[in-house]
Symmetry: C2
Amino acid sequence: MATRIFIVDDHYMIIEGIKSLLQNEHEIEWMGHAMSAASCMAFLQLHRPDVIFLDINLPDQSGIDLCKEIKSQFPKIQIIGLSSFNQQSYINKIIENGASGYVLKNATREELVDAIETIMEGKTYLSDEAARIIKKNEGSKIPILTRREKEVLMLISEGMTNNKIATKLFISSTTVDTHRKNLLAKFEAKNTATLIRMASQHDLI
Amino acid sequence: MATRIFIVDDHYMIIEGIKSLLQNEHEIEWMGHAMSAASCMAFLQLHRPDVIFLDINLPDQSGIDLCKEIKSQFPKIQIIGLSSFNQQSYINKIIENGASGYVLKNATREELVDAIETIMEGKTYLSDEAARIIKKNEGSKIPILTRREKEVLMLISEGMTNNKIATKLFISSTTVDTHRKNLLAKFEAKNTATLIRMASQHDLI
DNA sequence: CGCACAATCCCCTAAAAACAGGATTTTTAT
DNA sequence: ATAAAAATCCTGTTTTTAGGGGATTGTGCG
């Protein structure tokens, strides 16, 4: 039985590219595409693909969140994350949220077919490059931030002082100071400059 | 006479996507693709396309530099920049280096055809979104930094205080402070956090 | 030559952040 | 339920940065 494929990406070229790369595969049935999270969910009310290629950067919602939503409503659907970026943070996040694979947008036909076959066997597929990136970066941990810490970090990066942040969040400035201290400790940064640089490098701001 | 198209991009999906989107256009002749700057230049020794779609992010060389090189050796070839990113800095740079157009990788078939037709008439084509981005960001230029300012900026981003930087560079800490003030002024940032965020966004650190 | 600009140095004040200790309450997860 | 984690608040001191003024030297360029 042919594997039914659906793709969610807001780039026409990627949709056409994948379609073109897979169109001569007999074991693969092309079900179509969606260009937003909303239209993807609408499609899934009526159809059940086996595998979804899911772009991480969608216009209306993060691909990461959409992945979680799809897996909770339709656990049998296998998801392959799709991105131009071989960033370990993305790869980790989408795998944590239920995806079974990750391929880059420079994948070859062979890689795509390999990815589909691998995850249909119930295994996890990571493109060579993605696996390499994860390996390289393991050990360089990204601190886990709380909701409030993320908020404070964002506002610091926007140039706000503790007092401004306190007013904005309706809390005391000493509380903001505590969150700031915790941020510095978690990032092992000794001042704001290092904090913002590291947060920026990890794509947290 | 059909317009001869060539594409330079290291993403198979994009190549296949554009090929697929343009394959039924009678006025367009597909000449093939290259996946690196080097193989693009090799191709151009033997063939003369009318239009090249040129990705800005290539593995061996910046698309910006390649654009300059192509235009200097083959001025008649028209170039359309191609990128996933609607960043004003990229758009500006490739246009400055001789490209006649810029489209995003989420372009539709209509946009691609429109772009080709427009630049074959000798005009410049910018995708709606690219034009919007340029308009939005015009005025928010990237500051030009002096040698010393770049050094100081780097050291600030590494978490060093004015005193530490002064010791490292064998200058007075008041001098470092002056450089710091000038950096803040040039970036129109009111504190270090904003400075580092902006520098990071412009890839200066 | 004169001008702009970069790089260097200085003073002063105020604001903000970093550091060092606390403490209490609320939420969340087992 | 209860322990852990998160969020809240406090009082201090010291260091660093921000903002406002200057000034001098050398270099490159028209």
